[in-house]
């Protein structure tokens, strides 16, 4: 597969760039932030996403979606990153849609996928519990009770958990924390008895939730996939999410970089445009190179998860790690090269830095994925 976007993907990118750039630029995000909007995103915008077919990109056609792939989702994620657009796209259209389309029963697919595609259902994936992303250490227990299970434990950083109509919860139904397997995924109604949701606003002014489960009763038909064997499905869905987050980071990095280069061309100090200084030129050229390498690695990862390639996990770790490191560099250089202006809330570049910090942690930072790669290569 060629590592360039096809004509159709380029058209999708252009329409995403148009919609998101026009209706949800950084000013849109600032407004929601400043008004302390309870949802943290615009329902109208999400409706437009659904009308444009973005919400159903990964939903099969028979369930009302367009049945496209992760490369297409990545194209939208990149534009979201470029504009810092708050949206349920990642949690609902990417993670939940993939989890249900790949792991769901026919009844579950019929119940949820059409609603994801038409924008009427918002869903969230609840995985992490500790300070760092460690899926194998999931401790939230699912204990067998009657025809179903009881969930007990807590989740942190559940993206869109504060507005979700449906939670996909990864729980330990067998084994001990640290065991690779013994996990089960559950579809949980956030209004169920025993679920308490604490809305958290993160450093980047995006929204998430800490959610606790106190003996929450779930039926057998709420199991997504197989009991005790949910790790493989979770891993697949996480890899799709990681590749998508890497694509969002690429958008963040590229936009922060573009704004920085524009600033280098206009800002004058010592009687010169600062872009004339070789020290800054070389750092900008280095950053350009790094970002182009990320672009290739992200596309490779998206293609690999689309084809369920054997090396998909490897390609995803490369992309997430590389995007994490380079995006961090891009936003830090962005703030530094903007000088004092970069430190002000009025200038956008600092907002990109805050977003990058969150995306770096989400589903494994660069160290996590370097470790995964070392394991993969067995050293």
């Amino acid at each position: 597969m060629a590592l360039v976007l096809t004509e159709e993907q380029t058209m999708l990118r252009d329409s995403a760039r148009g919609l998101i750039g026009d209706t949800a630029p950084v000013a849109h995000f600032r407004k929601l932030r400043d008004e302390r909007d309870a949802a943290g995103f615009s329902r109208d915008l999400w409706k437009s996403f659904a009308e444009m077919g973005f919400a159903g990109l990964l939903v099969p056609e028979e369930f009302g979606g367009s049945g496209l792939g992760c490369v297409e989702a990545g194209v939208v994620m990149e534009e979201i990153g470029r504009n810092l657009t708050p949206s349920p796209f990642l949690a609902t259209a990417v993670l939940a849609a993939s989890a249900i389309a790949r792991g769901g029963s026919d009844a579950q697919k019929k119940a949820y996928l059409p609603k994801i595609a038409d924008g009427s259902l918002i869903a969230a994936l609840a995985v992490d519990e500790g300070a760092k992303h460690r899926p194998s250490k999931i401790a939230l227990t699912a204990t067998r009770a009657g025809n179903g299970f009881k969930l007990k434990g807590a989740k942190a950083l559940v993206v869109d958990g504060h507005v979700a109509d449906l939670l996909i919860v990864a729980a330990r139904s067998a084994g001990q924390p640290g065991d690779a397997d013994g996990l089960t995924l559950f579809l949980v109604d956030p209004k169920a008895k025993g679920v308490s949701i604490e809305h958290t606003i993160m450093v980047d002014a995006h929204n998430a939730a800490r959610i606790s489960f106190d003996e929450v009763e779930v039926n057998a038909d709420q199991v997504l996939g197989e009991v005790d064997r949910g790790a493989a499905l979770l891993d697949t869905v996480l890899n799709i999410g990681r590749a998508a987050v890497a694509a969002e980071m690429l958008g963040v990095a590229d936009e922060a970089f573009g704004r920085t280069v524009a600033y280098l061309k206009e800002r004058k100090q010592f009687g010169k445009r600062i872009g004339e200084f070789q020290a800054l030129q070389h750092r900008a050229a280095h950053l350009y190179t790094e970002i182009e390498i990320v672009r290739a690695a992200v596309l490779k990862a998206l293609q690999a998860v689309d084809t369920d390639a054997e090396h998909a996990g490897f390609a995803v770790s490369v992309a997430k790690a590389k995007a994490g490191t380079v995006t961090t560099l891009a936003v830090q250089e962005g703030v530094q090269m903007h000088g004092g202006m970069g430190m002000t809330d009025q200038f956008d570049v600092g907002l990109f830095m805050k977003r990058a910090r969150v995306l770096q942690e989400l589903f494994g930072d660069a160290n996590y994925h370097a470790e995964a790669l070392a394991e993969w290569k067995k050293y």
Binding site: M1, V261, L264, T289, A297, T325, H369, A370, Y379
Partner: protein, 399 residues
Amino acid sequence: MSDAASPDLDQFRSDTRAWLEANCPAEMRTPMQGDEDNFWGGRNAKFASDAQKVWFERMRDKGWTVPDWPTQYGGGGLDPAQAKVLREEMAAIGARSPLSSFGIWMLGPALLKYGNEAQKAEHLPQIARGEIRWCQGYSEPNAGSDLASLQTRAVPDGDDFIINGSKIWTSYANYADWIFCLVRTDASAKKHDGISFILFDMTSPGVTTKPILLISGKSPFCETFFDNVRVPQSHVVGTVNRGWDVAKYLLQHERAMISGMGGRDGGRPLGQVAADSLGTDDRGKLDDPILRGQIASFDIDEAALACAAERAVDLAKAGQLHPAFSSAMKYYGTELNKRRHEILMSAGGIDALEWESERSNDGARARAWLRTKANSIEGGTSEVMLGIVAKRILDLPGA
């Protein structure tokens, strides 16, 4: 998938796989250990082994020393998709390149674009068959990274030019049969405008070479002197005084070649090299957690760079590649290769320090480490590459 391989391409792949399986000697499927494992061709070519000879001759006879050149010039006539398949299938069995050649990597592409028919017909087949070994006369003592300041003069005399001057860092000039050379043909023109690109035989009277001993204790480089060397004017490639265009085009290929060097050495995975040397702990992890982390972070960068190299090929095919992108790749690839060799030295520890012993293969690892330090200097320094990116891609002022 929209660009799924056609049945023809699938057939080509299985034929190629079978041919390579039957024709590539086992010895030619192991990583190269040193420069002697390269076969460079030329009038005085020497094979390091029978396997090297057999492998070269079989590949040459198929035109696969230059698989994507036209068959009329000794190439394999493969289209880009087929050439990619061949590269992939060779990589899959770890097959060595049958012929190392500046003629293939650098001069050939420039001749295909700028050479006249007589020049192509004379030189390209000889390059493809490994009969003539070429060297590059670009840098001068006062014109390295500032290449356009070169002073070697070519003065017309009847149908010939008389060339006087000297070159430096001429890789393997002492083994080369011919040189492709930049000379000043108009001293009054602006720096870039009075330069011509000319080809001549290194056995021409007045050409001498002198090796330069490097910190690696070896000498791929030479100084080269021209004392009234007579060269027919018909040996100019492209237009007289417009050699800069040819030179720049060729440099793109040189930079692409150097940026690929890290991958081309067919080296063993760093994690494995380090494990052999340091051992592993009771969980099977490298017995130096910080070095393990450095290797993992290197592996991430290397794998990502490989994606970028693959994408560059695909972008070029789609007509979307920025012509200065090879500078970015050259910069990144060479810096990464230096990092690779720092890690190799670190993993080798005391054993990697040996300089003269059979056990160390004559200090191969240390010498290779020192050699890589030139990667970010030769073919334009890293700083020059960054300057090109800043100016031509980012359009920064005054760059």
